[in-house]
């Protein structure tokens, strides 16, 4: 069947342009690791920045370029916009040099979000690898802000080395709580610098405390890490529709128009970045999709 299209009524009013960055000022900078920084921004005109956990912004550095970066702050504090950036290339390296008072351009928020509202009543297991903890942090804030609405809550976090761990102070705080199980592991560490778990994050899954039939899993990290995490979660008895992942692809527009972020039939910028696993499982893990 060839689907033919009829001409559309072209709306007469030209809508506001979602490609225009809005200036934001750097308020505070915190160094997380040797190459990763967390920035707090405030809008220049004092407006608030409401968003849902898991959404991202396009951050523009004057004349240098623009990159997609997840929002890593507390959704209930929309007066500050928080981003955690790892310096890997042209734009992110320049972003990581920002100082308080500097101005960047922000477009957003874009994309889908973690199902923190839908998951109320369930146990929650969060599995994060590396900078993958950044897009999950707003979900963690939300869940802890509304702790009573959830069953057991587990956070499993893996970093390459102890030095690569984000949000160390907060991790320690969360570990101190009696109502959250926090397990952290590193791929490798020198004996004198780390006394915790060594191994990939998936090794933490068998000992996480949750009810496999009433749990929602939120997973973010490198694709390979997500692949093995899903396998482990499936071994624990989770169905594909209990698992959510966040995908990454090249992005130029973030509004579904430039084509760069296509992932099978999905545009990661508008249908994602957060996907319920069963909706992408046919293509997930297929090479070069």
């Amino acid at each position: 069947m060839a689907v033919t299209v009829k001409p559309q009524q072209i709306a007469l009013a030209v809508s506001t342009d979602p490609m225009l960055p809005v200036p934001y000022r750097v308020l505070r900078v915190r160094r997380e690791t040797s190459d990763t920084f967390t920035f707090e921004f405030g809008s220049v005109d004092g407006s608030r920045f409401p968003f849902a956990p898991g959404q991202f912004n396009m951050l523009y550095l004057f004349g240098v370029g623009e990159v997609p970066i997840s929002i890593s702050g507390d959704p209930e504090r929309p007066e500050i916009l928080v981003h955690t950036v790892r310096a890997v290339g042209t734009v992110t390296k320049s972003l990581c040099k920002l100082k308080p008072g500097d101005i960047i351009g922000v477009r957003g928020p874009f994309g889908s979000s973690w199902p923190v509202v839908e998951a109320a009543g369930d146990d929650i297991v969060i599995v994060a690898g590396g900078v993958g903890l950044a897009p999950l942090r707003p979900a963690i804030y939300h869940i802890l802000n509304h702790r009573g609405e959830y069953g057991r809550v587990v956070l499993l976090y893996g970093a390459r080395t102890p030095g690569d761990m984000l949000y160390k102070k907060e991790l320690a705080e969360w570990r101190g709580r009696f109502d959250v199980q926090v397990e952290v592991t590193v791929d490798a560490a020198k004996p004198d610098e780390w006394r915790g778990n060594v191994g990939v994050v998936t090794t933490l899954i068998p000992r996480a405390h949750f009810d496999p039939h009433h749990v929602t899993a939120l997973v973010c990290g490198p694709e390979i890490m997500m692949r093995f995490t899903i396998l482990e979660l499936q071994k624990r008895g989770l169905r594909d529709d209990q698992i959510y992942i966040s995908m990454e692809r090249n992005m130029k527009c973030a509004i579904g128009l430039c084509g760069h972020c296509q992932y099978g039939p999905n545009f990661i910028c508008k249908d994602g970045p957060v996907f319920r696993f069963d909706t992408v499982k046919e293509i997930f893990g297929k090479r070069e999709i």
């Binding site: 069947m1 060839a2 689907v3 033919t4 299209v5 009829k6 001409p7 559309q8 072209i10 709306a11 007469l12 030209v14 809508s15 342009d17 979602p18 490609m19 225009l20 960055p21 809005v22 200036p23 000022r25 220049v44 523009y60 004057f62 004349g63 240098v64 370029g65 623009e66 890997v88 290339g89 008072g101 500097d102 101005i103 351009g105 990454e248 692809r249 090249n250 130029k252 527009c253 509004i255 579904g256 128009l257 430039c258 084509g259 760069h260 296509q262 099978g264 039939p265 545009f267 508008k270 046919e282 293509i283 297929k286 090479r287 070069e288 999709i289």
Partner: protein, 375 residues
């Protein structure tokens, strides 16, 4: 008058162009340029490809003299109308430093008001498809929208099909049925050269008031119908679209992708000539003093390595994965994304592929291999 059919004599055709010019339209139509039919600005009927036709085969295109003086006796050239509705290079905005901050100034240049002369039915459908892409989702491209809502479309029904055409398979032609202001069928007989004109909109009717017309007789209408039917019977290519989405989705690992990758040069020609391909990239630049920045949008192609680059490497590093992405997007995932095929069967990608890769042939090979397996 909408829905009515009238006649315009060839000798009065200039009057139609004049009427559009008088109305302030920037009139764009087919011209002969560098050995190809190229859409560009036209002042008079003399600018049209009078007496020319084009031959299309996989990887081959040639202009040839006709033995008549037809104005629209060719099929389609390498460029489609998308270059006007969705320019290859477009400044989106400029930013000026203001102390520590900066101010973003959108490009609000008033786009030209275009009249397109000679839009083929497949090309009309390509425009409807881009309408869906750019104006029917959560976000709208204001630049496309501003150009699109002002255009005046003079469609031309095809009375001859090209060697790589398959609009009949895609149900997009050869007759323009909707979405035009005026639709012409060019008829050349021993004694007469005239156009049967169907009025599509009030706007079209209004323009015709400035042009000498006659009421079309049933015979004229019948002749036009027959000529279009002839074109429909002579499609150069065919594409069986039965369950094509499912066919391609279940064959993402088919060996045919490896085979086509040995031929494909990943030159991106197919995406540039395709009237529906819409991918773009952006460039952020500054002037020498560093006080003014600009964002420029350019056509991009899924055939480049950069297109899918993320830290660590390109997602689609192999030629196989890039050809697969292109073809499955056109014919399968486009349907999920926009509720329509991304291919209108214009044949450009076949004609302009330097190594003659044929989208219809690639699909046929995959379909055939499944049939062979089940036999």
């Amino acid at each position: 008058m909408v829905g009515e059919q009238v006649l315009i004599e060839r000798t009065d055709f200039q009057r139609l162009l004049d009427a559009l010019h008088q109305r302030g339209y920037n009139v764009i139509g087919p011209t002969v340029h560098d050995g190809a039919i190229i859409y560009s600005e036209i002042a008079s009927v003399e600018d049209l490809p009078i007496g020319w036709t084009d031959e299309h085969e996989a990887g081959r295109y040639r202009l040839k003299r006709r033995n008549d003086q037809a104005l629209f006796g060719y099929v389609v050239g390498p460029y489609s109308w998308k270059k006007f509705l969705y320019p290859p290079v477009l400044s989106l905005w400029k930013a000026k430093k203001t102390g520590k901050s900066f101010e973003v100034v959108p490009n609000t240049d008033e786009p030209p008001q275009y009249a397109f002369i000679g839009v083929r039915s497949c090309e009309l459908h390509a425009i409807f498809i881009q309408d869906r892409v750019f104006t029917n989702g959560k976000f709208t491209d204001p630049h496309y929208q501003a150009r699109r809502q002002k255009i005046f479309i003079v469609a031309v029904n095809c009375v001859q099909a090209g060697g790589t055409c398959f609009c009949v398979s895609m149900k997009t032609g050869p007759k323009a049925t909707v979405g035009f202001d005026l639709a012409l069928t060019e008829i050349i007989d021993d004694q007469r050269h005239y156009f049967v004109v169907e009025v599509g909109t009030e706007k079209g009717a209004e323009i015709l008031q400035k042009v000498p017309t006659k009421r079309a007789q049933p015979d004229d209408i019948q002749t036009a119908k027959e000529r279009i039917a002839q074109a429909a019977q002579h499609m150069g290519r065919q594409l069986d679209t039965t369950n094509i989405k499912e066919l391609l989705y279940r064959n993402l690992e088919h060996p045919r992708w490896d085979e086509v990758a040995t031929r494909c040069l990943t030159c991106a020609n197919c995406t540039m000539v395709c009237p529906t391909c819409f991918c773009t990239t952006v460039e952020d630049v500054t002037d020498l003093t560093g006080t003014e920045a600009e964002r420029v949008r350019r056509w991009d192609s899924c055939f480049t390595l950069d297109f899918s680059y993320i830290h660590g490497g390109s997602v689609r590093a192999s030629a196989k994965s890039r050809y697969r992405q292109w073809l499955t997007h056109k014919l399968a995932s486009w349907i999920d994304q926009f509720g329509t095929s991304g291919c209108v069967g214009c044949g450009r990608c076949i004609t302009w592929c330097p190594v003659g890769i044929d989208i219809t042939e690639e699909v046929r090979a995959i379909r055939q291999s499944e049939l062979n397996r089940t036999q």
